[in-house]
Amino acid sequence: MSAAFLEVEGLVRWFDGVRAVNGVSFEIPAGAVVGLIGANGAGKTTTMRLLATLDLPDRGVIRLGGVDVVERPNEVRRRIGWMPDYFPAYKDTTVGDYIDFFGRANGLHGAELLRRVMEVTEFTDLVPLAQRPMDRLSKGQTQRLCLARTLLNDPDFLILDEPAAGLDPKARLEFKNLVRVLRERGKTILISSHILSELGEMCDTLIFMDRGAVMHHGDTGTLRRGGATTGACVVDIVIDGAVVPLLEWLAVRPGWKLLNERRDGARAEFANVEAAALAAELRRLVTDGVAVTDFHREERRLEEAFVEMLREPPLLKKTPPAEGKTP
């Protein structure tokens, strides 16, 4: 990965007096796969539409590869592929015609058009379906067609809004594989989804949004370990022999809090998430004579982390809209 490919600073978007996007800022490095998580109405789709040049921010700056999205939208559009959470099907149109049309619409001609159409059709395994009317596709096939359309202009940056929604497990797995291949090809990808476990597997970092604001942006490991919001981590310690020495150690040692004890050990919270600090504590535990046989940091499910994020106080504020909007 390299320096920031996508820079978002202080993004604000109003809809009917409500801040749908409320000062959103984040950066995505080139080649990263980033997940965008949030409840319905959190501002994910609005943020994605702003990134895709389909809407204008009331305030804030978006730069893609150094190019201002608001100032030079046409330049940005050539570098992005947007897959919305809906599929607008055309009547009386086959899969082949649909891909061919979007190839032409992206400025491809002649042999280049045919080559590119073949490439994306094969990549998304739509070759057998080329002659099928597009309104007779299954949900999984439809999503693949959507992805094929998105890839036609060979974009650097892919914005995938709920790509796995409504897919059966097999189609979801296939889609995940496609994302993996795209990542290997160096694409920068922003995915929003409600299926957090899958996002955790696919993404390098996750952005949690709530009520238009970014609550957290970090790697999935940090979120699972719980340090992102509490500044503490939970450790499970197993010992050999009596548990009393461990309980005494936890009671006197600063930064530790016993959560619950067992016959062979205890669960405790340590008020520091740094790996080095935790390693130092383990060394100290051993040198202090506690017979440690197992010591591991507990990880939460992403769903738990998400719920925890939502407990954070709201950041919503109301200020007048900026220029360019209806007063």
Binding site: L54, P88, K91, D97, G107, T326
Partner: protein, 487 residues
């Protein structure tokens, strides 16, 4: 997925050889869809069957007929032939255009199109060209029957070719108008069709009782001028359709607003060349066209953005000044309208011979009434600006249409009911919109009527001007920010 091998039995994606790859993408897509629709295929087949049956009947019958009866058959065949063509080109094709953009909006496919290299212009042009091309195809397919008519009577090839071209031209304009209205809601489209039917009849009723200047506006106009006017109307409807789907950062106001000025250009040329009738006809067209453009421009509550201003600021000086007349939103359209209506009217009165001397003052007063008629809905729009922002054009059109209908009802009541209802017409004559329509048919207006009309017009203008204060303040703020940024 990509790991699945492509077996030799599965055909590869069909090479798109139906249309060459250099053709505009949108045109190809629309043609592919359009030529497969049941509507097109059904119409195509039905026309062929109907014409074939008619021709066979006429050919079989004509052998046994007396010469007089043959002439009757020829008239019937001609009538049927032209009726079919007219229905297809002037009714069916524009009707198909009526739902064209709305279907894209409802399917939410416009966003996907905008992310490609297709601009709003290309999307609209592709749809329009496809519909006209399909009509052209139907026309060409009908031509053999045009020739076969010879056996059922006689054929004037030159005249028929001219009629075909005129029909195709009218089809092109009406299809563009259909596309423009297709960006609106279904209710507005229905109202537009009703308004068009009522408006045509009201116009005919009004024109019947008015002067020769109004009754035969296009008398003596040559096909070139009519073609010129048709092209301008076509361009207006296309740009209006483009604006329905264009992103907010795009400003098409300049293009739309310059069209009436172009329409006005031939007027002094014809007048100076001594063709006063043609100049009068062209002035009439340009006047109506200006009213249409102003009405659509004023029905917008958009506020200017920095991207709209930049092209004008960059050129500085005069361009900066001109830019104020070409920004989106009704306040800019308001100052444009004042200039667009006042300048030609004053200019026209300065050129001798274009307007008969006894009509000069009347034309000037009608110009002022038109100004008031178009400003009054703006004042109403300004009051409800916040709630009407999304459907400003519809609100503007409804106020304008409602007031016009009120004028028509008042005129009808005054004409058909006892004298005691005459006050309704007098009252309607005083109001800005209905007053304009009713004054078209009046040769004389009393001083008191003119004072009240004038007072209301200036009140509407003043109120609208006051309401536009925030717009101009915002504009000044953007300009000052832009200047600071440059420094």
């Amino acid at each position: 997925m990509s790991t699945v091998p492509v077996t030799p039995t599965i055909p590869p994606p069909r090479p798109q050889i139906d249309f060459p790859t250099w053709l505009p993408a949108m045109l190809v897509k629309e043609l592919r869809q359009g030529l497969r629709t049941r509507g097109f295929v059904g119409t195509f087949v039905a026309f062929q069957i109907l014409m074939a049956l008619l021709m066979m009947g006429a050919a079989v019958g004509s052998d046994a007929m007396a010469p007089g009866a043959r002439a009757g058959t020829a008239t019937a065949v001609n009538g049927f032939f032209w009726t079919l063509l007219t229905v297809q080109l002037l009714v069916v094709t524009p009707a198909r255009a009526l739902g064209s953009l709305q279907s894209e909006i409802e399917a939410r496919s416009l966003d996907l199109l905008m992310l490609t290299r297709l601009s709003a212009w290309r999307i609209v042009f592709g749809k329009w060209a496809s519909l006209v091309a399909q009509s052209g195809l139907l026309l060409v397919a009908m031509l053999p029957y045009g020739i076969v008519r010879y056996y059922a009577g006689s054929v004037d090839l030159v005249s028929d070719a001219g009629t075909c071209l005129a029909l195709l031209g009218a089809c092109a304009v009406l299809t563009a108008a259909g596309l423009w209205s297709s960006g609106t809601s279904k209710l507005v489209r229905v109202l537009l069709v009703i308004a068009m039917v009522i408006g045509t009849n009201v116009w005919r009723a009004v024109a019947t009782g008015s002067s020769a200047f109004l009754t035969s506006p296009f008398r003596g106009m040559d096909p070139t001028t009519l073609g010129f006017d048709g092209a301008l109307t076509l361009a207006f409807f296309l740009v209006a359709a483009v604006r329905r789907i264009a992103p907010p950062a795009e400003n098409h106001a300049f293009f739309a607003r310059v069209l009436p000025l172009i329409a006005m250009l031939p007027v002094p040329l014809w007048a100076l060349a001594g063709h006063a009738t043609v100049a009068g006809g062209q002035f009439f067209f340009a006047g109506c066209f200006t009213l249409l453009v102003c009405a659509t421009e004023l029905g917008s509550v958009r506020t200017p953005m920095v991207v709209h201003l930049r092209p004008w600021l960059a050129r500085g000086g005069l361009a900066h000044f001109v830019g104020r007349f070409a920004l989106p939103g009704w306040p800019s359209a308001l100052i444009y309208m004042i200039v667009a209506l006042a300048a030609p009217t004053l200019g026209l009165m300065a050129v001798p011979g274009v307007v008969p001397p006894h009509l000069v003052m009347r034309v000037a007063w009608l110009g002022l009434l038109a100004l008031g008629a178009l400003t009054f809905p703006v004042a109403a729009l300004a009051v409800f600006e916040r709630s009407a922002a999304r459907s400003a054009g519809s609100v503007y059109g409804l106020v304008l249409g409602g007031m016009s209908v009120f004028g028509a009802i008042a005129a009808a009541l005054a004409a058909g009911l006892p004298l005691r209802y005459g006050w309704i017409k007098d009252f309607a004559r005083l109001l800005p919109v209905s007053g304009f329509w009713l004054s078209l048919g009046d040769t004389e207006l009393s001083d008191s009527t003119m004072i009240v009309q004038g007072g209301l017009i200036f009140a509407a203008l003043g109120f609208a001007w006051w309401q536009s204060h925030a717009y101009w303040q915002n504009l000044a703020l953007i300009e000052s920010r832009e200047r600071k940024a440059k420094l």
